[in-house]
């Protein structure tokens, strides 16, 4: 038995190499038909629309260029609740007065390629342009690389009307508190960049200050840096899955929590040159 196996094996080597290499090539080619084959949950081979934030921001800046009043629908934490996410999107699509949509992060639960694709497919059903901020769940596995490929920069800003919308990555826990998160130099740069084009600022993030995964060593410093931003209206965050408002620093600056899709609530912010209004929408 032993000698038989070894004899076969020695005879098998060249034969095997030929057969094996052909099989590997054929099967790899098959895998490129990606709809039918699942390579791996943490594969980062994205096709379809990529760099979405940049493309959507161009749309937003064009459509809002001369507007005094900007109305923004803000949604958050849609992971695991695809039915509710679809209803939320349908509800937003029924409104004509929305200028654009902001998603405050946690599109995915585990950062898998499929979850990103499921979320993207639904977001693309929005008739209005949208931007997406990275949430802590979106970092898991290769999720952060997927976010970079599909949506783009993790800290970004854009100007709609005369308002700068500053979108910050505040998921410090995902970097083991070892990275520039939140990025103070980014905030500082954004406070003055294109200063002739905006008078007011709105800040959006996933994790609010003093929350579990915020870098709470710099919570107070973060507040000081926010004061650099011209005419700051208020801030919005997701993460806690609850719709509530809090002056986290007890100084008049309001932080608005946006509920998860599961709670069937989102917010609409209406910004005018001198004030803003917030409403909660149940769907």
């Amino acid at each position: 038995m032993t000698s038989r196996s070894f004899e076969y094996l020695s005879a098998a080597v060249p034969h095997f190499c030929r057969l094996f290499s052909r099989a590997v090539i054929a099967l790899t080619l098959f895998s490129s038909c990606e709809d039918a084959f699942d390579i791996h949950p943490y594969d980062v081979d994205y096709s379809g629309p990529l760099h979405l934030n940049a493309a959507q921001i161009t749309r937003i800046e064009q459509s809002c260029a001369d507007k005094d009043t900007i109305r923004v629908a803000v949604i958050s934490d849609t992971h695991d609740w695809y039915t509710e996410m679809e209803r939320e999107i349908d509800d937003i699509n029924r409104r004509d007065d929305i200028d654009f949509v902001m998603h405050l992060g946690d599109l995915t639960n585990t950062g898998m390629i499929k979850e990103y694709e499921w979320a993207r497919k639904r977001l693309l059903r929005l008739q209005k342009p949208f931007v997406t901020i990275i949430g802590n769940h979106d970092h898991l596995g290769t999720g952060d690389e997927a976010y970079d490929a599909i949506f783009g920069e993790r800290d970004f800003s854009f100007i709609a009307g005369r308002i700068k919308f500053l979108c910050l990555n505040t998921n410090a826990g995902e970097y083991d508190y070892m990275a520039d998160v939140p990025d103070f130099s980014f905030i500082q740069r954004e406070a003055v960049r294109d200063s002739s084009r905006f008078d007011r600022t709105f800040v959006a993030m996933h994790i609010p200050p003093f929350c579990d995964q915020f870098n709470n060593n710099v919570s107070l410093a973060f507040r000081v840096w926010l004061d650099l931003l011209p005419g700051l209206y208020c801030c919005a965050f997701g993460h806690n899955h609850r719709t509530y408002a809090d002056t986290l620093y007890h100084d008049g600056l309001v932080f608005y929590g946006v509920g998860s899709a599961e709670k069937r609530q989102y917010r609409i912010f209406t910004f005018t040159p001198d004030k803003y209004a917030v409403e909660v929408v149940d769907f």
Binding site: D38, T110, M112
Partner: protein, 224 residues
């Protein structure tokens, strides 16, 4: 990783000692009687046949299946009708838009309850049920959530995936003869699989179709 390697090398070392001891006793067998020689030879033969049992009986290569673009490895088929199969596969995930390519490792258990003969050369196994654990290598994946997170924050592993698959297999028995191949038979199979997290999303997430969470895999098993 280090301790796993150490255990492996220790086992390898011990098996070496055992083999040496066996050879040693062969050489210094006291009174050179036929009886003693025979028993010693039998012992060697027994040991060899035991080793032979752990010698893989299959070479397997398959694509996708949440194990990488392509994965390959060795398998063991056993049971009175060879209805059980265990395979150890190494897979490859190309770099694409990420920082680096990744390797995966899979331990797979298959069960084929029925085999239908289609003529002399072909056999068909209509049901091939498999359960497998896949692990992906890379420091961004964890088995248990790292200490930086609040306790029980992420109740899952990003490194280990439990997969389940259903499929069929067609065997071709290679004719024996002078020009016979080194392999006894070639099995071509397909599997439809999903993993624990996809299934969880389907159950919790509501509006996901089965095609969202199921994937196809094609493979070849060469039986020695």
């Amino acid at each position: 990783m280090q301790w796993k390697l150490s255990i492996f090398s220790l086992l390898l070392f011990l098996s070496g000692i055992k083999a040496c001891a066996q050879q040693g006793s062969d050489a210094v067998a006291g009174p050179d009687t036929l009886w003693q020689r025979k028993s010693s030879l039998e012992r060697v033969e027994r040991m060899r046949s035991r080793w032979n049992r752990i010698f893989p009986s299959q070479l397997v290569v398959q694509n996708a299946g949440n194990m990488g673009v392509v994965s390959a490895g060795v398998g063991w088929s056993y049971g009175c009708r060879r209805q059980w199969e265990t395979a150890l596969l190494a897979g490859f995930i190309p770099r694409h838009q990420s920082d680096c390519a990744k390797m995966t490792m899979t331990l797979k258990q298959n069960y084929m309850p029925w085999r239908i003969a289609l003529g002399d050369r072909w056999h068909f196994e209509p049901l091939r049920f498999g359960l497998y654990v896949n692990t992906v290598f890379g420091e961004q994946f964890w088995g248990e959530q790292p200490h930086r997170y609040p306790a029980n924050y992420y109740g899952f592993s990003t490194r280990y995936r439990l997969n389940v698959c259903l499929g069929s297999q067609l065997h071709f028995l290679i004719p024996s003869g002078r020009n016979r191949s080194a392999f006894e038979r070639v099995g071509l199979f397909y599997e439809v699989s999903t993993c624990d997290l996809y299934f969880r999303s389907k159950v919790l997430g509501g509006n996901l179709s089965w095609s969202d969470i199921l994937g196809l895999s094609l493979g070849i098993a060469l039986q020695l």
